[in-house]
Symmetry: C2
Subunit: 465 residues, 2 copies
């Protein structure tokens, strides 16, 4: 009879009974209660009013301008020791805020053991563990070296890393290369097949990719992210579109790079099997974007959110290099067959740099198919993005979301807005098994801990006396 | 303040003022008026009641079962003369229902001239035109030879064609190979660069693709379509996801096919530049699916909808090989810079086999980004799909739409439902310039002409006395 149904955005501010009636008709509705800022907490309200000042707004405007202007380009692949500033022969980088061996979670310990074996610093896992426990190896966060790594995020000196340059602002960011699925270092596996794959990445994949990147004269990552957001990726937990676009654009260059047919074939096979290949490039792009906020005095914009599996860490533009930490939260999501919530490690990895930059969980409205992987409904995916507009200062016109009438992604988390609204940032992420080496056991959603933002707010307020 | 907005589906059946108020709040709403079947037309109501019978329902159930079971696989590439049943040395196939030279539209005439030059049957466009006008070349619809071609859809004997096999049902379908953008035969261009590209396709691209397909042991097209529908394609007017997925999956096979690095490089370059490469594979897949309805007595399901730029043609499962035609409609959409509605040719091409099979315009809810290309809003894209459920008999569980909570695409157009509801099928398509050789000048939406369905309804009713 020509009956069509239209998706409609409704906010019910008044009669709850109207909302109930809509719910009974199986249409989604959110009942909004008015809440006082910061839940009415007098201490927070005081800090917030102290920070409601032009200087902060001005610094944030300057900051978001940098972020939106940022144009990350993949310019090469280099050995970590040569590429990453401050990297040392005796240093292993890791995801999240700083952590000592005794507090490290299972998957990160496993990855550290694997890295020691890869570097030839030990002959056995036991020997590697002794070395790592001895204090002879320095552990530092990737984030303190312009780098990011998914899950355990371990980068050791000989590993090849992507070199991403922000063409607009000139800064660099780095990430390791995605290992694919199965037993992988980032989930704490360190068996012979893991080491073998890492050696293949170092010896075969990385030089081939580097030759192709050089032939191409660099690859515009901002453009790939923008297109992937129109193709169902949010570029954190779903990267199949970006990986496919990358592969399709990259193959002609790889084939002109003077490599043997066999090598090109191995690379093509790896790219065809590695749906999350682009994740590490997305992360390095976001790192380059957000590091443009470094040293921006007075700004309440978030520069980094990251997890080491033990703690969650937050960095804010206006508070220098200080980490604001809280226990890492657990992830609520869907588990692969055979696994359950008790098997899960708390939230882990630098990949939440995606959300920090306004994609990932912040762009879930662009990726409705992802709910098959992380749980929830496509409508909820749209709601998550809408909610994130409440705590951000801009919409990124470079990254638009078709499902939201091509609105830009919610970008630039303002610590003040997080506290005022009580809305913590969403993070859309993988779930690691708590034991080293078992790997990914699911995927889902979590929120950044409020405690980190409360600490940051206090410190920001101190800056203004 | 934690205010989020939820997308809600509302049908307003009652007070128009409520709908108006929602509209004023800038939320989408569709006001539904109750209408009598077939607009109350007594003649149509009589025919409809004659066709409201178990035999028709049973035939349609049998038909849709075949369509949903269908599993198109790309199994090879062959010369049209060798592959296509009934093809002859002196035969050129074309899009749409049958048409004579004197009634052919500009782009199709141009494509025919190009084909005559390609086949070496003439030395000049003038000579080609004399030959084509002479009656020495037989013109027949692709559709009558298990084939489909986009726009002019001209297939001449020496052209290579994709061979698609329905693995479930055993039938075959064929399509030519996409030429890419710019001056192309399908839009009626026939200059030297067009012929040169067609010879490259025949001499280089087709043999290489064929070798890769053989190495792969065939490529599952249903799976690629299903994945692309989760990635913003509707597989008619947007094919970038499917083309990228195809390329990424195909490259390792191409590299193992024993070809030279140069040839593989040329193919990779072509694939990287041809966003609509997959269109012709999508079309052949849909043709294979819908030809499963051939000869299904009593069924009111649509088997083909197609346009030759002069007429629109409809085939119905239960009425054998008869065409029900009407003047080809114009397409409403967005024009490329420098072009306007007066430049447009009426609707053209076999590509509406996509809609016939439940994708393309029927799956626009899967492809919200396409509105930047065809006009309208993402909400309208969702509404188009919702409307098509009104005239179809099934949801295709193989092809699901994330934005509609993973509902299957609306599949199996029932002539009775089209007449009863007065809703004509949507078609999402390109717009050709009316002069040969200028090419695509826009893209947009149109509806299949009701007249074809009215004729088909009458003939179906005659089958039952």
């Amino acid at each position: 009879m020509g009956i069509t149904r239209a998706g409609i955005s409704v906010v019910n501010l008044g009669l709850e009974s109207f909302a109930k009636s809509l719910e009974e008709q199986k249409v989604g509705v959110i009942h909004v209660e008015w809440r006082p800022p910061a839940g009415g907490d007098p201490e927070k309200i005081k800090l917030l009013s102290l920070l409601e000042r032009d200087e902060v707004d001005r610094a944030n405007r300057e900051g978001i301008e940098r972020v939106l202007k940022s144009q990350p380009v993949l310019v090469g692949i280099k050995k970590a020791l040569e590429a990453i500033p401050g990297m040392r022969e005796d240093m292993f980088l890791h995801a999240g805020p700083p952590v000592t061996w005794d507090r490290m979670c299972g998957p990160m310990r496993g990855a550290m053991i694997g890295a020691a074996l890869l570097e030839g610093l030990a002959d056995s896992p036991e020997g590697a563990e002794r070395l790592l426990r001895s204090g002879e190896i320095i552990f530092e966060p990737c984030h303190e070296h312009s780098a990011v790594g998914p899950m355990a995020g371990v980068i050791s000196p000989s590993m090849p890393v992507f070199v991403v340059k922000d063409k607009a602002l000139g800064n660099y960011a780095y990430s390791n290369i995605n290992e694919g699925f199965g037993k992988v270092l980032r989930f704490g596996a360190y068996g012979p097949e893991v080491i073998k794959r890492l050696r293949w990445i170092e010896g075969t994949l990385a030089p081939a990719l580097a030759a192709g990147i050089e032939e191409a004269g660099g690859i515009d990552l901002r453009n790939l992210i923008a297109r992937a957001l129109h193709m169902g990726d949010e570029c954190h937990n779903r990267n199949v579109a970006a990986t496919s676009l990358f592969t399709r654009a990259f193959m002609p260059h790889l084939l002109r790079a003077g490599l043997s047919n066999d090598i090109v074939g191995e690379v093509a096979k790896y790219l065809s099997e590695t749906d999350h290949f682009f994740l590490n490039l997305s992360m390095a792009s976001c790192k380059a974007m957000m590091d443009s906020l470094a040293g921006l005095e007075g700004s309440s914009l978030v520069r980094a959110m990251t997890r080491n599996g033990t703690e969650f860490g937050l960095k804010v533009a206006g508070t220098g290099e200080e980490w604001f930490t809280a226990p890492a939260p657990f992830v609520k999501g869907l588990y692969f067959p055979g696994y359950k919530a008790e098997d899960a490690n708390p939230d882990l990895g630098d990949s939440s740099i995606a959300e920090t930059a306004g994609i990932g969980g912040f762009a879930m409205a662009a990726a409705p198919a992802i709910v098959q992987f992380v749980g929830g409904s496509p409508q909820e995916a749209i709601d998550y993005t809408r909610e994130m507009y409440e705590i951000t200062v801009a919409k990124n016109g470079n990254f638009t979301i078709p499902n939201l009438n091509f609105e830009g992604t919610p970008t630039g988390i303002d610590v003040r807005k997080v506290i005022a609204t009580g809305i913590a940032p969403f993070i859309n992420t993988g779930i690691a098994h708590r034991e080293p080496g078992i790997g990914q056991i699911g995927a889902g959603l979590t929120r950044a801990p409020m405690e980190c933002f409360e600490k940051a707010l206090k410190r920001l307020a101190e800056e203004f006396g």
